[in-house]
């Protein structure tokens, strides 16, 4: 049976764009996630929608300590990310705020379990899965592409894997995190979900120059 976003209660903020682009969807973490775009070969510069994947924030004076107590790796400095054994990203945004994000299928359950265990009392839950859209931009031209939208120097020597910039991308506030473990530059982009459609369209427009296009979760490589 073909999986379609409207069959699920939880829907990606950009699912109309994915459907229009011919996405194939998979049932992942109780949502329809675009896993591939079969009509064409995966582009060298690709943009994947990770919005429906589990993602949670923890905020407050106990946030850092609490996450460490749960056995997750906590970055030592602000604006830095760590890769957990589960394959998920831990982003430290400040002395009192973290985001834990799944960027692939295998890590989803761990994030959901973590989110369910956030008890409050100084380590408060922040609904990042719903406040933010999450896109993954990957490809050899990813740095040059983002240079059209963002004034931060994202070149590898200045922005290695695990770097975070809380900055402006195409005039909206965004968190840019360089992901780990890819042969080509790969960035996780988190922005306000209400601008998701606009942001998706703007990113694809900037990617046009490099023959970029949408990418499915299982095509990231």
């Amino acid at each position: 049976m073909t999986i379609m976003p409207e069959s699920y209660h939880r829907r990606s903020f950009v699912y109309p764009r994915l459907v229009a682009a011919g996405a194939e969807f998979g049932d992942i973490a109780d949502a329809a996630v675009a896993t591939a775009f079969p009509a064409a070969a995966a582009p060298a510069l690709g943009l994947a929608d990770l919005s429906p994947l589990p993602r949670t924030g923890i905020k407050g004076p106990r946030a850092i300590a609490w996450l460490g107590e749960q056995g997750w790796p906590v970055p030592q400095a602000n604006n830095a990310a760590e890769l957990a054994d589960s394959g998920n990203l831990v982003l430290r945004l400040g002395d009192r705020e973290l985001v834990v994000a799944a960027t692939a299928e295998p890590g989803c359950n761990a994030v959901l379990e973590l989110e369910a265990s956030i008890a409050g009392g100084g380590a408060w839950h922040v609904p990042r899965r719903d406040s933010n859209c999450a896109f993954l931009l990957r490809g050899p031209d990813a740095v040059d592409c983002l240079a059209k939208l963002c004034g931060v120097d994202l070149r590898t020597e200045h922005f290695p894997p695990g770097s975070i910039a809380q900055t402006s991308v195409a005039r909206i506030n965004a968190i840019v995190c360089r992901d780990f473990g890819h042969e080509v530059p790969t960035f996780l982009l988190l922005a306000d979900c209400t601008s998701a459609i606009w942001f998706w369209d703007t990113l694809l427009d900037a990617m046009n120059e490099f023959d970029g296009g949408p990418l499915g979760l299982r095509e990231i490589g």
Partner: protein, 960 residues
């Protein structure tokens, strides 16, 4: 007539292909690699423009876009430099600024009246007698400007890009190439910026030696190394328009502006050829020698048949040799110097038996068919003599090599000190700003070898972060500048500024009128203020001004040089305009339902559904009042306030009382600032002892959030404040059938009246979707405001729509909601209040808890209430047949006095007459009191104070 030279002339041309475009309606062919200018010159067409004042025929001078003689008009773009416009098939090009045709410009008649167009003439004319300006204005507007803007032109795609490097080198002549290599070899990440389509600058066309091969050899060797070096990014066809703070360079390439942040900058931008000033020196065919060399070498165009080379240094001899090699007859080299300094090129000219006249002066040029046809030359010792003996040369080309001016714009932008030197007879750099180096002829005339060495040193120093070496004027060893290539003629028309048609007399007269500095002369005469910004005028203008003032030119400064260094398009500055839009999670459903969307800040919200606004609004209001409606309220602000001090925090931030607010209850929120003025309102649902879920207005939430953070930074309460506006979608289902719809859905929330009374709040799930449900009364009907995580928003809307289908549930928009809330007398903060409204004025005194020790604004409210009120918000009605209705902000008057204004007004479908809210005088608030509204066009309308809520005054319906 083809003036093409065979290969290897014309290095940029692809002769295998032909491109066709039109100029002034006539078909012209060229090759890829041509510009419009070179293609026209290749067919012998040197008339490309008309001068500003006298409409004299003009052709290119610098032949590389540094002058503004050849600005052309495209269908959707004016003022395009023909020298920078690549040819392409189908291009439609026209000249500009003529009356009739470019070839036969009727406005050249102005030249006959030139004595009326003296410098600053417009300061003495067009305003007497009083009122005469109205007559002159239309003619002046027609005559003003150059090209025409096509207001129907389509927007083009422009964008911007950021870039970073350790060292940026601007200019890729010998100095720039050497600097880039040295920087890269020292380990610096280097970007080399070149405005031409190929690297090399003057190496591509200038003749540095008698054989004419040194430049090419040097170029090939250096360019190959640069292109191969992994540390160098070479960007050709890229202009640097300005240098801003901390070495931020603005670069323009095609439709993109790149903002390049460089650690250090090496300026190797070379120099700009300068004209000689003599009668009729502006004729087409009189141009810079270096420009002619470039035209031949890069575009393969023979610039004429018979040439005279006017020279003040050895470069002019190199031009003569190039022309001879290209088959142009060189009638003479006219050397302004008594004795040429030794140079192999001078020797070569003599060896070829090209006549050389030394100690010469140019008296005037002669025109035929709107092009130069001859030149009269005399000996300098005869200058000023009537009937001085001289030589008349027949020629269709005059090349000028009397000197250059360094292209110092970027140095000036950065605050470098540049002024004139008597040593070099030109600008020289006195100091360089930190982080900037200079090399090559931008630092003053220098030989090829010196430029190479300077570039290498500058590149290395830039890479190492060493201090820049400021070149000394006395050390410059290159071709000299003429100190005074200026030959006044008793009959004038010796043009100093080609853009403005200013002559020697104009500048001298400006000084005589009392403008005693170059800056004032510039402002009065407009010298240097035309499109070429004095690139080929400033030097001679400074010389003439200094001479008239009896001052030395040493230390004289040209006027302040600011970005942009070249004309910039608004498109480049605008870039890829980003106008972020915010959509709710339910947006697509509104569009599918035929909503007319409205802009609310950055959001798009449905105003109403359907095509007929009045009808749709009224139907939607009736649907809510009589049945059930659905509105997307996702844009409302949402904040989590959590922590052991959450209730204390709420008590301090808002006017009401929250410490004892029970869990699962909502309470109205009113926020005042510390002047006691209302800034926002909303609802707080308490979900736990230490957890309030706070709503705020769509437009106010960012402000509320900031205020909360700011105040708690001082109070340091144990409370966390998180803005979750985007995280929650919100849907308000309202109307007498709302409960029936809710009860159709599978939920662990009991929606019955007993279990879930008015003003309470619940958390639970609906069909598996987690929700926060609030019973609120903004529209005054039985209703539930459902907040769910945004990812579920559309699904929840779908579920409610499906469940409501049997009742005929109807979506309603913002317009209907505004009417519904007005019928209930509910205020909208920012519309029914202003920056000074305190609670009592807005009849909101009930929302202020007087017993608690403090809230933000409490002291101010107390102080303000000591004073007699000046206004009060009341409800009013108008007769049912009032037409048209007054509008918001229309005044409430009492005779000649303004006593208030209308804040909200609408036709009430529920009541059948217009209602509104207005500020009125405090003594006019009694029910039944009439008052006067001054509406559009001064019409007065009588209103009557009525009690609010207007509809269901006992609030029974929302309590169902």
């Amino acid at each position: 007539m083809s003036e093409r030279l065979p290969a290897p002339w014309g290095r940029l041309l692809d002769r295998e292909r032909t491109v066709r475009f039109t100029f002034e309606g006539k078909s012209v062919s060229g090759h890829p690699g041509d510009t419009v200018e070179s293609a026209l010159l290749a067919r012998g067409n040197w008339l490309l423009g008309r001068s500003f004042k006298y409409h004299r025929p003009r052709g290119p001078f610098t032949l590389n876009g540094d002058d503004a003689n050849t600005l052309v008009q495209l269908p959707d773009e004016p003022n395009v430099p023909a020298a920078l416009l690549p040819v392409r098939d189908g291009l439609e090009v026209k000249g500009q600024h003529y009356s009739g045709s470019l070839e036969r410009d009727r406005a050249r008649i102005n030249e006959k009246f030139s004595r009326f167009f003296f410098v600053g003439f417009y300061y003495h004319a067009f305003f007497r007698p009083k009122g005469i300006w109205n007559f002159w204005e239309k003619y002046i507007r027609r005559a003003a400007g150059l090209g025409r803007v096509n207001t129907q032109a389509e927007h083009r795609y422009y964008d911007k890009q950021y870039a970073f490097c350790d060292v940026a080198v601007v200019g890729s002549g010998v100095a720039g190439l050497s600097a880039a290599l040295a920087a890269a070899q020292s380990g610096a990440d280097t970007i080399l910026i070149e405005r031409e389509p190929l690297l090399g600058g003057g190496l591509n066309y200038a003749r540095f030696d008698a054989e004419g091969s040194a430049g090419q050899r040097e170029r090939d060797a250096l360019a190959a190394q640069v292109e191969a070096h992994p540390n160098i990014r070479a960007w050709t066809d890229t202009q640097c328009t300005g240098r801003f703070g901390d070495n931020l360079l603005a670069l323009v390439h095609a439709n993109r502006m790149t903002k390049l942040r460089a650690g250090r900058v090496v300026v190797a931008t070379g120099s700009i050829p300068q004209p000689a000033v003599f009668r009729y020196n502006d004729l087409p065919g009189i141009c810079a020698g270096s420009g002619v060399q470039r035209l031949m070498r890069l575009h393969g165009v023979r610039p004429g048949r018979r040439a005279v080379c006017v020279s003040g240094n050895a470069d002019g001899y190199g031009v003569a040799l190039d022309l001879a090699d290209a088959g142009v007859e060189v009638a003479a080299v006219v050397d302004l110097r008594e004795h040429a300094t030794p140079d192999p090129r001078v020797d070569a000219v003599h060896q070829r038996e090209i006549p050389v006249h030394t100690g010469a002066a140019v008296l005037h040029a002669r025109e035929r068919d709107q092009r130069v046809a001859g030149l009269r030359v005399i000996e300098q010792r005869h200058l000023g003599e009537a009937n001085a003996p001289g030589t008349d040369f027949e020629c269709d080309l005059v090349t000028i090599d009397v000197g250059v001016t360094p292209a110092i714009s970027l140095i000036a932008h950065a605050g470098g000190d540049v002024s004139y030197s008597e040593t070099t007879h030109g600008l020289t750099i006195r100091s360089l700003p930190p982080g900037m180096h200079a090399a090559g002829s931008v630092a003053g005339p220098c030989t090829l070898e010196s430029a190479r060495d300077e570039g290498t040193a500058a590149g290395r120093a830039a890479a190492e972060g060493a201090e820049a070496v400021v070149p000394d004027a006395v050390d410059r060893d290159g071709p000299e500048n003429s100190a005074w290539p200026i030959f006044p003629h008793p009959q004038g028309k010796e043009f100093v500024d080609l853009d403005e048609d200013l002559t020697i007399t104009d500048l001298r007269n400006a000084v005589r009128e009392g403008f005693q500095s170059i800056e004032l002369v510039k402002r009065y005469s407009t010298v240097g203020m035309g499109p070429s910004q004095g690139r080929t005028a400033a030097v001679n203008a400074v010389r003439i001004t200094a001479d008239e003032l009896g001052q030395s030119v040493e230390g004289a400064r040209a006027s302040t040089n600011r970005p942009p260094a070249i004309p910039e398009k608004f498109g480049h500055l605008a870039g890829r305009g980003f106008d972020p839009v915010r959509y709710t999670a339910i947006h697509q459903r509104h569009v599918e339902a035929g909503a007319q969307m409205m802009v609310a800040g950055a959001w798009l919200r449905p105003a109403y559904y359907g095509r007929d606004r009045e009808r749709s609004m009224n139907e939607e209001v009736r649907a809510v009042r009589g049945n059930v409606g659905l509105i997307d309220v996702s844009t409302l602000g949402g904040l989590e306030v959590r922590g052991s001090d959450a209730a204390e925090f709420m008590n301090r931030m808002y006017t009401f009382a929250y410490k004892k607010q029970p869990t699962d209850r909502s309470r109205y929120l009113l926020m005042t600032d510390d002047t006691g003025s209302i800034v926002d309102d909303g609802v707080a649902a308490r979900f736990a002892e230490d957890h309030f879920y706070v709503t705020a207005t769509t437009g106010g939430v960012e402000n509320v959030y900031r205020r909360m953070l700011w105040w708690n930074a001082q109070w340091c309460l144990d409370v966390d404040i998180t803005n979750v506006t985007a995280a929650y979608a919100g849907i308000n289902i309202a109307g007498p059938n709302a409960r029936k719809v809710m009860q159709k859905l599978d939920s662990d929330i009991n929606f019955s009246a007993e279990a879930f009374p008015y003003i309470e709040a619940r958390t639970g799930q609906i069909e598996g979707i987690p929700v926060r449900a609030l019973r609120v009364g903004f529209v005054g009907e039985l209703g539930y405001e459902l907040h769910c995580p945004a990812g579920f928003g559309e699904a929840l809307w779908d579920l409610l729509s499906e469940a409501g289908r049997e009742f005929g549930i109807r979506p309603f928009g913002v317009e209907a909601q505004r009417t519904l809330r007005l019928e209930k007398g509910h205020i909208i903060v920012g519309q029914d209040t202003d920056n000074l409204t305190h609670p009592e004025e807005a009849a909101m005194g009930w929302a202020v808890q007087r017993k608690k020790p403090f809230h933000v604004g409490a002291p101010a409210i107390a102080a303000r209430e000591q004073h007699a009120p000046t206004r009060r918000l009341v409800g009013f009605r108008l007769p049912a047949d009032t037409d048209p209705l007054p509008e918001e902000s229309h005044l409430v008057i009492d005779g000649e006095r303004i006593t208030g204004r209308v804040t909200s007004i609408a036709w009430s479908p529920s009541l059948g007459y217009p209602i509104g809210l207005a500020f009125v005088a405090p003594d006019a608030t009694k029910i039944g009191t009439p008052f006067t509204i001054k509406a559009q066009g001064g019409k007065t309308i009588e209103a009557e104070v009525v009690s609010a809520p207007f509809y269901d005054p006992d609030n029974e319906r929302q309590n169902l």
